[in-house]
Amino acid sequence: IIQRDESPMEKGLSGLRGRDFELSDVFYFSKKGLEAIVEDEVTQRFSSEELVVTLAFIGIGLLVMGTTLVGQLPESSLKNWLSELVHLTCCRICVRALSGTIHYHNKQYKPQKGGICVANHTSPIDVLILTMDGCYAMVGQVHGGLLGIIQRAMVKACPHVWFERSEMKDRHLVTQRLREHIADKKKLPILIFPEEMFGLLAINMDERSRHLIFNWNAFSFLFSQYNPQFGDAFWNSSKYNMVSYLLRMMTSWAIVCDVWYMPPMTREKGEDAVQDGGLKRAKVKDTFKEEQQKNYSKMIVGNESLNSEAN
């Protein structure tokens, strides 16, 4: 919509370095601020809204069809390979529909088969983002609606551990199913979120199960973080249902996310890494502002001290 003025601060303030503050300085800052609000590169994205929704439908449709087809095959390594292919392809289509840019760090620590991976949970599309880099077995309740259809389709192609709501109350059933899944080294790594972890911890289970499930060597961790400047992935479920949430995600500028796979570590180290990640996010915003303030201060104070000397 606009042509941004890229000239640096010194030029914009009609300055040679070391000039005094002037009342006209405010023009530069207000102009820059308004330019940033109106900035053009992003607005063009919106004309392709229809394309984006179509892409999402194709992605989900393919996923359901693909998994059903693959589910017809007898158990074999071919079936597993195909199942992963279907999952990854559809994931990629869906993420493209969300204009997602995802960076995966430390891929050498990616969780292996037969393990459990704990990830932080920020939004419903977490699963989508993580699955793009590798297939996981999910744990959780069967949902109704669109999500339920997807869940049921996925389980045909490769084993996930979905529970009916009634089954969740049956602790033995839960632990047994998890045990079976983990014991099978050929099964995909389980993806679990901390809320569910705590739920598991609360369950009264026998020693053997506890040992199997909470074998810390089998645990790996990952941390995902969204860049909020581009798209707010938070889902206010009291305000939006799943479909309208997804539509909002698709029409936001982009979903920018970083995923860090963490090296095997003791529990304390894990906590530190998460804290550091959160701190980094807050720090970046402030330091940018502070840098601007510092530069401007240097400009006007430099001359001031010269002035006072002259007087």
Partner: protein, 168 residues
Amino acid sequence: MGSRASTLLRDEELEEIKKETGCEFGQITRLYSRFTSLDKGENGTLREDQVNFRGFMRTLAHFRPIEDNEKSKDVNGPEPLNSRSNKLHFAFRLYDLDKDDKISRDELLQVLRMMVGVNISDEQLGSIADRTIQEADQDGDSAISFTEFVKVLEKVDVEQKMSIRFLH
């Protein structure tokens, strides 16, 4: 979002904004798309300050370059928002925080503080403010009125400094 934006913005509103700001139809709808994408709460306003789309457009209109007015010269109409005088008024209001038509020492200090952050001491900032007021003040009330403000800026190319180039 092209079609969606124009149906949400009523035709009469569109006409009013066009007249008031001098922006073109295409520009307004694209800015409306932009506005709604920033309006996360979907209550028609931006941020805690509650700027609605009209207010947003009015603010933006101050930054239109003056050359754009050449084609729509309406001698009898109200002064366009992007005239030199209105641009100066806009800037003056940025400093005059309590809207009493005077820039006091305190207000100047507050705005300066926002621009420099923590990098300059209160003392130094105070002397900058004092010097600025001293240079501008003509009626001796230790504050800067709009007339004094205009006088200080008479040699400044306001039109160029406070212009954003809009694409058509």
